[in-house]
Structures are given as structure tokens and as C-alpha cells.
């Protein structure tokens, strides 16, 4: 096994570990308690139309 495989293999294992472990935790309050969060209940198209009306 060459150095390339070892280095990137470890990177894959480590990154997947981080994703599978930390992905299950909620985001920080700094991320969640914002006023400018994306409103996923509104489509981008609706959003654009309402923005154009305001302008």
C-alpha cells in the first residue's frame, strides 16, 4: 500500500466518522436562532416574486 492510499484512505475514514457522528447532533444555537434563516416552506420562485413586488 503506497503513501497516497494510506493518506487518502485515512482521510475517508476520518471524514465519514465525523459525518456519521456529528451529523446526528443539532446545530449550535448560533445557527438555529437566527432571524435570517432560509424559509424552506416558501419556494424560491415565490420568494423572488414577493421581492420583486417590494421593489
Amino acid at each position: 500500500m503506497d503513501l497516497n492510499t494510506i493518506f487518502f484512505g485515512l482521510m475517508i475514514v476520518g471524514s465519514l466518522g465525523i459525518f456519521l457522528y456529528f451529523g446526528k447532533f443539532r446545530a449550535s444555537s448560533k445557527q438555529r436562532d437566527r432571524d435570517d434563516k432560509i424559509d424552506w416552506t416558501q419556494s424560491l420562485w415565490t420568494r423572488l416574486k414577493s421581492r420583486n413586488k417590494k421593489n
Binding site: 459525518f19 456519521l20 456529528f22 448560533k30 445557527q31 432560509i38 424559509d39 416552506t41 420562485w45 423572488l48
Partner: protein
């Protein structure tokens, strides 16, 4: 009916392959067992990645056991066309995601395995680098999102959506022009312009992950229906596959310069 009502109002992510659908109703409309969770979505993403890896490994082995690129062309076309159909079904009927998303993962594996084997035969060692960089980007952006370093806003969403649409349009134009013996040169060139273009595309693909994280986070926080777990995992998988292919292309451009 509650499930269908939940999909009446949908948001859109900048995801290249589909318009991400959100949720309009709260958990009160669903029993506790039907509510989406973060861990459920992460587990499903892990499962879909495993499925994708399994079929990719199968195609990869077919390529290396025969040593002939034409031996995997059938798998490649089958995976690409089948994957596209499975993706469209998932996008237009999100309630089918628990079934269509794993099928998509399996089919995409066939395509990715073939493409990866071809790149590896030309540039040995490139595939593990591309996979490593893809997962490293995933983990880094997840941490940046979770800690609040990257804060996706409506403007961010609009910017990523516009950039992604622009890239898709450019690829489509290049594809159509190829039938007339022409094309957009810099997309495939290994010159400075081609490399800058690939870097920009990789960056846009990576930022799509942030939108996926935000969609999953908010959907699970607001108690979206359970099938959106599979939908969220599908969304992540689509972005990851796109990111992987773009990194592979960027690395191949860099390799071909040597």
C-alpha cells in the same frame, strides 16, 4: 392526506439534480413514529453511500478483470439512465423516496464505478484522492454549518441556485453543441481557464451541501414527515456524487498537465 398536504409548499435548494422539497406542516399532524430525525437521515445517508459503493465496486471489478473499457459501458449507460429515472421519480413523488432513493443509490453506483475505473486506468491513484477530498469537504462543511461559521440565508440560497442553474445550462449547451462537432472549449480544457472553471464548479457543488444540511436540520427540527429522511439523504447523495465527479474532473485536468 396529511402527507400530501405536507408537500403542498416546497422550497428549493440549489441542488443540481432536483428541487429540494420542504415541509409545510408541523409534527402535530403526524404520529411520533412518523417524524423525521437527524440521526435517521444520517443513517440513511450512510446506508445509501454503502449501496452506491457496493455497485460501484462491482463495475470497478468488471473493468479490471476484463481490462476492456467497453466491458463496463453497458453498466455505465444502465446506471446513468436508470439513476436519472429513479432521481426524477424521487423528485416528483417525494413520498416514494424510501424506495426510489436506495434504487437511485444502487444505479448511480454502476455509473460511478465505471467512470472511476476509466479515470483510474488513465491516472493511477486519482480515485482515492477524489473520494478522500469529497468526504473531507463533506465533513469540513458539516462542522462549519453545525458550529455556525457558515450561515445560509435566503440570499445565499438564491446565489447558489443561480450559480448551479448557470453551470447546468452551460453543460447542457456544451452537450448540444457536441452534436454539431463544436463545444465550449474551456469546460474541458486543462489550461488555466479550464482549471479555474473546475475550481468554481467544485466550490458551487460544495456549497450546495450547506443548503442540504440546512434543509435537513430545519425539517427534522420542525418535525417533518418520516419519508423526508430518505428525501434528505437522497438530496445529500445527489450533491455528493456531483461533487465527486467534479473533483475527479479537476484532478484529471491537473494530472494531464504533467
Amino acid at each position: 392526506m396529511a402527507r400530501h398536504r405536507a408537500l403542498q409548499m416546497f422550497g428549493r435548494s440549489g441542488n443540481p439534480a432536483f428541487k429540494s422539497k420542504a415541509f409545510a406542516e408541523r409534527s402535530s399532524d403526524f404520529s411520533t413514529s412518523e417524524v423525521m430525525t437527524l440521526s435517521g437521515t444520517v443513517n440513511k445517508t450512510g446506508l445509501y453511500l454503502l449501496l452506491c459503493f457496493m455497485t460501484a465496486a462491482w463495475t470497478w471489478n468488471q473493468f479490471y478483470s476484463s481490462g476492456d473499457p467497453s466491458s463496463v459501458m453497458g453498466y455505465l449507460i444502465f446506471g446513468t439512465v436508470g439513476g436519472l429515472i429513479a432521481a426524477l421519480v424521487t423528485i416528483f413523488k417525494p413520498t416514494s423516496a424510501p424506495i426510489s432513493a436506495p434504487i437511485y443509490a444502487l444505479l448511480e453506483g454502476f455509473a460511478i464505478g465505471g467512470i472511476s475505473a476509466m479515470f483510474e486506468s488513465m491516472y493511477p491513484g486519482i480515485v482515492i484522492q477524489a473520494v478522500g477530498l469529497t468526504f473531507f469537504t463533506l465533513a469540513s462543511l458539516l462542522m462549519a454549518y453545525k458550529t455556525g461559521i457558515i450561515k445560509p440565508t435566503e440570499n445565499f440560497r438564491l446565489m447558489i441556485f443561480a450559480a448551479t442553474s448557470g453551470i447546468m445550462l452551460l453543460y447542457l449547451l456544451s452537450f448540444i453543441m457536441s452534436f454539431f462537432g463544436s463545444g465550449i472549449g474551456f469546460i474541458h480544457s486543462n489550461g488555466p481557464m479550464g482549471i479555474i472553471f473546475s475550481l468554481v464548479v467544485v466550490a458551487i457543488a460544495a456549497l450546495n451541501l450547506v443548503l442540504d444540511f440546512d434543509f435537513i436540520e430545519q425539517a427534522s427540527e420542525q418535525g417533518a414527515p418520516k419519508y423526508l429522511e430518505a428525501y434528505g439523504a437522497f438530496s445529500l447523495l445527489v450533491t455528493l456524487i456531483w461533487l465527486y465527479l467534479e473533483i475527479l474532473r479537476l484532478l484529471s485536468k491537473l494530472y494531464s498537465r504533467n
